[in-house]
Symmetry: C2
Subunit: 363 residues, 2 copies
Amino acid sequence: MFKILAKSSISKARAGKLSTPHGEIDTPAFMPVGTQGAVKAVTPEQTTEIGAQIILCNTYHLYLRPGLDVIRQAGGLHKFIGWSGPILTDSGGFQVFSLAAIRKVEDEGVRFSSHIDGSEQFLTPEKVIEAQLVFGSDIMMPLDECVKHPSTRSESLTAAKRTTLWAKRSLTPLIPLSTKWRGVSEGRGEVWGIVQGGMYKDLREQSAEEIRELDFPGYGIGGLSVGEPKEMMLEMLGISTDNLEYDKPKHLMGVGFPEDIEEAVKFGIDLFDCVIPTRLARHGAFLTKEGKSIIRNARFEKDFTPLEEGCDCYTCRNFTKAYIRHLFIAKEILPLTLMTIHNLRFYMRLMDDIRNRIKGGTI
Amino acid sequence: MFKILAKSSISKARAGKLSTPHGEIDTPAFMPVGTQGAVKAVTPEQTTEIGAQIILCNTYHLYLRPGLDVIRQAGGLHKFIGWSGPILTDSGGFQVFSLAAIRKVEDEGVRFSSHIDGSEQFLTPEKVIEAQLVFGSDIMMPLDECVKHPSTRSESLTAAKRTTLWAKRSLTPLIPLSTKWRGVSEGRGEVWGIVQGGMYKDLREQSAEEIRELDFPGYGIGGLSVGEPKEMMLEMLGISTDNLEYDKPKHLMGVGFPEDIEEAVKFGIDLFDCVIPTRLARHGAFLTKEGKSIIRNARFEKDFTPLEEGCDCYTCRNFTKAYIRHLFIAKEILPLTLMTIHNLRFYMRLMDDIRNRIKGGTI
C-alpha cells in the first residue's frame, strides 16, 4: 500500500509511505543493492544503522546461485540472508541481457548460458515470478526485455511489446494463490509492472499505457540510464510517468547519481537503486556534497578529518581520511566496509534531505 | 599494574586483572591481531562486541607504513585507528626476521630492506621504543632477535645475548621521561622484557635470568611456536616462566591454537596473540569445539544451522552455514567479516571458560 503524505506544488515530487509485508518505507527512498543476497562489505546490522529501510536483490543472480532449492529450504530470502526489512527483487531482465551469453530471446522466454558456470538456462516470465514467490520478496518485478542505447525503433518496439506480453504472463503464477493477488493484506508481496520503450517517445507512451492497463499496484521504469544523454533520460522518464497513475509508487530501476535522483524525484519517482555508492566505495572513492574524491590521493596522507565534515555515519564519527587512506594502501578489508558505510549514508542523507524539501515545499 | 585474583592449586595458572592507561584486561586474555592498525575484516565496534579488551599491533609494519610522522600527528595510535582500549605493540623483532630481507644484524641494530618498497631501513632498540612511545602503546616490547627452529646452540646463544643487550638499551629512551618509567600512573605504557634462548634449556634459563634482572613489569616469551614439536615448546615455556617472577604478567608471543593456549595457561601465561582465528576466517575455515571446518564444503549447502550451536556471536545469532557458504562461493566480502567475528568470539569464549575454570579450581 502506498500513501502520499506531501506533494510538491511545483513538480510531481511527493513524499510518501510504502507499506510492505516486512515494514514501511519512507519515500522517496534509496535501496542499497545486495545483488547476491548481501549488500557488499556491510552487515545487515550496519545497513539498518545507515538508515536503509529496504534493499534490492537480484532474481537473476539468486536464481542461478544458490538456487531456489536452498532459498526455499531456508524459509525464504529474508531468513536466508538475515535481513528482516523489505526486499525488492529485480526481474533479472537487465542482468540476463547484460551479463549472460544470450542464446535466443523469443516470446516464450529467454535462453542463455549462465555467467557463472556456462550452464544453459531458460527463463520465462512465469518462472521469474515463481522464483520471487519462493524468495518471499516484498516487491517482485516481472521479466522484461531491456534494450541497449542506441537501439533501432524496431528493436525497441519488439522489446516493449514482449515486456507487455511477459507482464501479463507474470500474473499467471499468482492466480491460484488468491483472487486478490496484490496483497500486502495476505502478507505476500506485490508484483509491479515495468515500462520499457527505449528512447522513442511514442513507444514509451505506448508501453506505459499497455502496462497501466494491467493495473499493477506499482511500476518500475526500466531501460533508462543505459548510456543515453541525461536530457534524453529525463524526457523518457517524464513520458513514462506522465502515462501512469500519479498515485501509484514508481521505481526508477538502476538509477543513479545523486543529481539524477534529485531530477527524477520531480517526475514522481519514489524508489531508487544503484550500485554507485557501494561500488565507488570498494574502488576507493568517497562521496561528499562537493562530489567524488579518491581516498588514495596523497593530499589525504595527513588529513585527520572525517571523510565528510558533519556526516553522522559510523565511519565519519570514528575515523579520519588519513587512517582510511592508510588501510586502502595497506590492502586491508576494513576500509571497504568503512567507505561503503559512508557512501550509503551519504545517499540516505540525500534522501532525507529530499523528503524534507518535498514536505517543506521547496522541491 | 597486574593483580592476581585466583590461583590454580594444581598448576601455575592464574586469573587476574591487568591495568593499562586505556583500561583493564581480564586475564588470561587473547588479543586479536591488528598488524597494520586494523583487526582484519572487522570494525573496532565489532571487536569490542566480540569481547576483546586489548588488541595487538605490529611496530614493524606501522613504523614502515604509515610511518611515525602520520601517527604522531594523528595524536597517537589509539586515535589514529579509532580503538580506545589497550594496545600492545609487538617489538618488530619477529617481523624483521621473518618478513624483511635482512642485510646485517649486529649489536648496534638490524639493517634490512622493507618488505613493502625495498627501502633500506635500520632499526635499533632505542628506535623501536621511541616508535612505541609515539604510538602511545599500553604495552611496549623491546627489539629482540628471534631464531628459527632448528638453530644451532651458537646461533641461539648469540640471539639471546643480543636480546638482553637490546632490552637494556630499550630503557634509554625512557630515562628522560621519568625516573619511575614503568608507569601506568603517568598515563604511559609499560615496556616488558622478552625472553629468548631458542630450544636450549640452559639458554632459556640464562635468558630468563638476564631479563629478570632488568626488573621489567612484565614479560614476553618469544621464539616459541616456530616449528618445534609441541612438547619442546611447552618444555621451553616452562623453563622460561620458572625463571621469572610468578606474580608478573606474561605474554606468550604469537601463540596459538586453542589447545596450545590451554596448555600455556598452566605455565602461568596471561596474554596470547595469534593470527589463527582471523586468518582461518578469511580462508573460509571456522572453529568449533570439534575443531576446524571448511565452509565451502558441499555438506553445508543446505545446512541452516549457525556455524556453532550455542555460540552467542553476531554471526551465529543471525546467519546460517548455508548462507555464509553461498557468500564465500559468490566471492562476497561480508563472509570474511562474519567468519572473523565467529572465530574471534570462539577464542573469547575459550578465554572466558579458562578464566572460569581457574576461578573454579579445575584447571
